[in-house]
């Protein structure tokens, strides 16, 4: 074999077997269509993103703990706001937090631990139910509102009128009229807030409505309802989680605020707001009575908000794609 003179610039291939390497290999067209990466799953990606955020996990634990305590503890505490068994035992009043009473006792000798969890339970109940009503109504109406140009004309007028009524004032007046209580509070909080959610959803839907994949669905004869269900709603997961994470703390705050003013929950119902109002006067003396309910209500609001926001970010499909 004669010496091969290579015109290569860098290291030439030199070993003898290489002659066999210079043969053509047939092209496999199909092989290049194959996708090597593992199957993508939306929810798995969502949770992977969520749990990669340590702060969110911490907040999830905190809010989880508070929610569980507020459900479970009142079941066993036997606390009843109208009964005051220790009212005449002065030495049980105003006890600072100690081994027996972890949060101390209040002015009538009840364990603050019991009172706080009972109050938190009511706050959470109201907030979750009001949020659920607001969100479901808001999403259903908002999706149609955004998609149908005819509905838009009517609903926009309704929205403009109602939106200009100051929400706080409206809620206060309604509570005066309807009277205090859990049911009336839930009704009042959700009766116009769903419109705000609907408007927000409408805007998102309008952005998506004229994208090419929706035009394609129209060309294929897909009904409006199916377009909303398959093409629009899945993209709203992130947006819906955002509004929920905003509404929950907001409603908790409203309950606290209204009860503070004395038009939220009745005397017979445990309430964080009333506690804060009652014990504000002790800020200098038995300040644990004031600060513990404040801390709990702040903690639950903030932790739910952070969990919600992280979830919203994780469920946005754009963050999953490279």
């Amino acid at each position: 074999m004669s010496e091969t003179v290579s015109t290569a610039v860098e290291n030439p291939v030199e070993t003898p077997e290489d002659e066999n390497l210079f043969v053509f290999v047939p092209l496999e067209a199909q092989a290049s269509e194959h996708i090597a990466a593992p199957n993508y799953s939306y929810w798995r990606s969502v949770f992977r993103r969520f749990f990669s955020n340590k702060v969110a996990i911490a907040m999830l634990i905190i809010s989880g703990f508070i929610i569980v305590m507020s459900i479970v503890q009142p079941m066993f505490s036997g606390y009843d706001p109208s009964s005051t068994p220790h009212i005449n035992e002065f030495e049980t009043h105003f006890n600072w937090p100690n081994a027996t009473y972890w949060f101390g006792t209040d002015k009538v000798g009840n364990s603050l631990w019991d009172v706080v969890w009972a109050g938190t339970r009511n706050s959470l109940l109201i907030a979750f139910v009001a949020t659920a009503i607001t969100t479901v109504l808001g999403v259903v109406v908002g999706a149609f509102w955004g998609y149908s140009k005819k509905a838009d004309v009517v609903l926009l007028e309704v929205y403009n009128v109602i939106y200009n009524i100051p929400y706080t004032l409206f809620v206060m007046v309604m509570m005066y009229i309807l009277g205090r209580g859990i049911g009336t509070l839930i009704f009042t909080l959700s009766c116009t807030s769903w419109l705000g959610t609907a408007y927000f959803i409408r805007v998102q839907v309008m952005i998506i409505r004229d994208r090419e994949y929706n035009l394609a669905s129209r060309c294929l004869g897909t009904s409006t309802w199916n377009i909303i269900k398959h093409n629009v709603l899945p993209f709203l997961v992130s947006v819906i989680v955002t509004t929920v994470s905003r509404d929950l703390p907001s409603f908790i705050s409203y309950e606290v605020f209204l009860s503070y003013l004395g038009i939220g929950l009745t005397q017979k119902t445990a309430s964080l707001g009333r506690m804060i109002q009652d014990y504000a006067q002790y800020m200098q003396s038995s300040w644990y009575l004031f600060w513990i309910p404040v801390t709990i209500s702040a903690l639950i609001s903030v932790s739910l908000y952070i969990v919600g926001q992280t979830m919203a970010d994780a469920s946005d499909p754009k963050t999953h794609m490279i």
Partner: protein
């Protein structure tokens, strides 16, 4: 005539961190840029052509870094510059870039005049009045009619083609030595594209700058380029003068790019198409990156990366087909007599006649 090398890139490697993985976008690229010449870098998405030129101006994204190599320009290694302040001397002043989308290259809330003047005042230290005069002059030079009046208008009042002219004006405001044009006409209509290309050509003669064109359109390359570098999967696979690349290409990818042009399609027959998609650059590539899609692939293409084979003093290609041991391979029928076929398709003045 010996031309000066104005910029020399050697053994460049660029990596990107994407979540937990590493993408090697540029794998060992060396290139010399000759003064007052036009270099066209041709490639498709993922080839790395944009990333490569971003290394000249330090404009790689946050998660990207040049892990190896040197870029010699005016006696210094640009890759030794570590912070933004250092790049200020080069970016815009010595090496300017214009991008594809004139919509997003301009600030929508500032007048056109302000945007040009600002650059002049900053880099040349002129006063506001002097800068305005220079700016209006530049605007006229790039073909804006009624420049003095349009000086105070906002970008949305301009058409796409006019906006791109302004972007060119801003890029040239500081008389850079090198102008990098990253797909400057892809978003424009074909008639406007032709005008913009003409404009850049005239300006390069008048202002004397070296041009680097990044594009995937071979028609544009044929029009503007003196030298052409064909990129695939983060490497230059063929480099030569524009005549060598079009009339005597040697790399199968270049053959495929040329053959798949609709101008060369024969009615009733299928167009030459490349199957599959480019490889993922997250994993190390074994052998020739083009092998899985290469109808001229040999066993060795899957085993070992080919070296560059020098064909003429200016022409080199990175393919085992040029090794003396390789069997003879003819380029596809469609491009064997490219010039004759295309000449028969044009009328006077180069107008397409089909």
């Amino acid at each position: 005539m010996e031309k000066n090398v104005i910029l020399s890139a050697r053994d460049i490697e660029v990596k990107f961190k994407v979540r937990s993985r590493v993408l090697t976008a540029i794998r060992d690229v060396s290139l010399d840029l000759y003064e007052n010449e036009v270099l066209a870098i041709v490639g498709e998405s993922g080839s790395g052509k944009s990333v490569f030129t971003k290394t000249f101006t330090g404009m790689l994204e946050e998660n990207g870094s040049v892990s190896n190599g040197e870029i010699w320009f005016e006696g210094e290694d640009l890759l030794k510059i570590k912070n933004d302040a250092g790049w200020e001397r080069i970016r815009g002043k010595k090496i300017a870039t214009i991008f594809q989308d004139p919509m997003t290259s301009l600030n929508p809330v500032r007048t056109i005049g302000y945007q040009i003047s600002e650059v002049i005042m900053k880099h040349q230290g002129k006063s506001k009045e002097e800068a305005k005069k220079i700016a209006i002059d530049l605007m006229e030079r790039v073909g804006i009619v009624d420049a003095a009046k349009r000086f105070d208008e906002y970008p949305f009042m301009y058409s796409g083609g006019m906006r791109q002219r302004i972007v060119i004006a801003i890029a040239l405001a500081c008389r850079p030595k090198i102008l990098i044009c990253d797909e400057p006409t892809t978003a424009l209509d074909v008639t406007i594209q032709a005008q913009i290309i003409e404009l850049i050509k005239e300006l390069s003669k008048e202002y004397g700058f070296t041009t680097v064109y990044i594009t995937h359109d071979l028609g544009v390359v044929a029009n503007v380029a003196d030298k052409v570098a064909v990129m695939y999967a983060g490497q230059i696979v063929e480099y030569g003068t524009v005549e060598e690349i079009f009339y005597e290409p040697k790399h199968p990818y270049t053959w495929a790019l040329l053959s798949s042009l609709p101008q060369l399609g024969i009615k009733g027959e299928d167009l030459y198409a490349i199957t599959g998609t480019p490889p993922s650059l997250y994993d190390k590539v074994k052998g020739d990156a083009f092998a899985p899609r290469n109808p001229y692939a040999m066993k060795i293409d899957f085993e070992q990366e080919p070296p560059f084979f020098q064909i003429t003093a200016t022409h080199r290609a990175k393919t085992w087909l040029l090794d003396p041991r390789a069997p003879k391979a003819e380029p596809p029928k469609a491009i064997r007599n490219l010039h004759e076929r295309l000449s028969s398709m044009v009328g006077e003045g180069g107008t397409y006649r089909g």
